[in-house]
């Protein structure tokens, strides 16, 4: 039985380096979508998509409004919009106010995905310097999903994963080198 329908990565300062190290080792036939929500400013969107795309054989694309979510694809939340997952497994972009000084807000995406994917959702919170993502991870747990974090002791900016470790019942704490294997093992063989 499929045990993961979506894998969502939330990150802020210090997360880009993690993605560049992890993406090359992710199985190109992975059986679920990987959705990336990074705190970012407008202006460099195309560069980020291009750079991540150069590190993997998977399709990497910036999310568009109402886009259908497909397996074996990596989706990047655009700057300046909150990213929500709809019940019909499409994306929705929302430009309402910033949350935790952030838009996109990691909490918003984790929370909306938790309701859609319930116990088939896995969320990973990376390096960062604010509280975003914590409430979202709690919601994922309430709905039966799995929550994992980058090891705060080795993250470039430890605050965000450290807060998650303090406040949420975490399923796994991973080093960068362990992340690709963890993700690949969630995929159907």
């Amino acid at each position: 039985m499929k045990n993961c329908d979506a894998f969502i990565i939330g990150g802020s300062a210090g997360s880009l380096d993690v993605l560049l190290k992890v993406l090359p080792s992710i199985n190109s036939a992975i059986s679920f979508p990987i959705i990336i929500v990074l705190h970012r400013k407008p202006g460099a969107d195309q560069l980020l998509t291009d750079l991540l795309s150069s590190k993997t054989k998977l399709l990497v694309k910036e999310i568009e409004e109402k886009e259908k979510i497909n397996d074996a694809s990596i989706y990047i939340a655009p700057s300046d919009y909150h990213l929500l997952i709809e019940n019909n497994q499409t994306f929705s972009l929302d430009n309402s106010e910033k949350i935790n000084y952030s838009r996109p807000s990691i909490d918003v995406t984790f929370q909306s995905a938790a309701e859609v994917y319930t116990d088939k959702l896995v969320c990973l919170l990376l390096s960062g310097s604010n509280d975003d993502g914590i409430e979202g991870l709690k919601k994922v747990k309430e709905n039966g999903g799995k929550v994992i974090i980058q090891n705060p002791r080795s993250a470039v900016v430890s605050y965000m994963p450290a807060q998650a470790e303090l406040k949420v019942n975490i399923d796994a704490i991973l080093e960068i080198e362990e992340m690709a294997d963890y993700i690949n093992q969630l995929s159907e063989s």
Partner: protein, 123 residues
Amino acid sequence: MKKGKKIFIFDDNEELLELCTIILEDLGCEIKTSATSNNIEKQVKEYEPDIIFMDNWLPDISGIEATKKLKANNRLQHIPVIYFSANNNISALAKEAGADDYLSKPFNISALEDMVKKYTDTE
């Protein structure tokens, strides 16, 4: 492209600076970045870059004023300045600044690489 070309990027968008640094270091370039145009001539003189990327909007003096200062300086005016902006009038802004070329934001990796090659493969 010859390795070791020195590139100085002025922009206050940290994400853009981080991405450009990774991309251009992969090409074998040396990169220095600054989020401020404060003491622009001193910053450039100390690094002696082969090419400069200059954002239109900087927190101190504007990209236009910063570029004008560089182009008025006998020791620095030979360094190509590529103007960055998301502004629709980028062509006019670059011309007003006296920049050598411009790159409209958002740009992709190949546009960035092509611009670097255009101004560093001349020797």
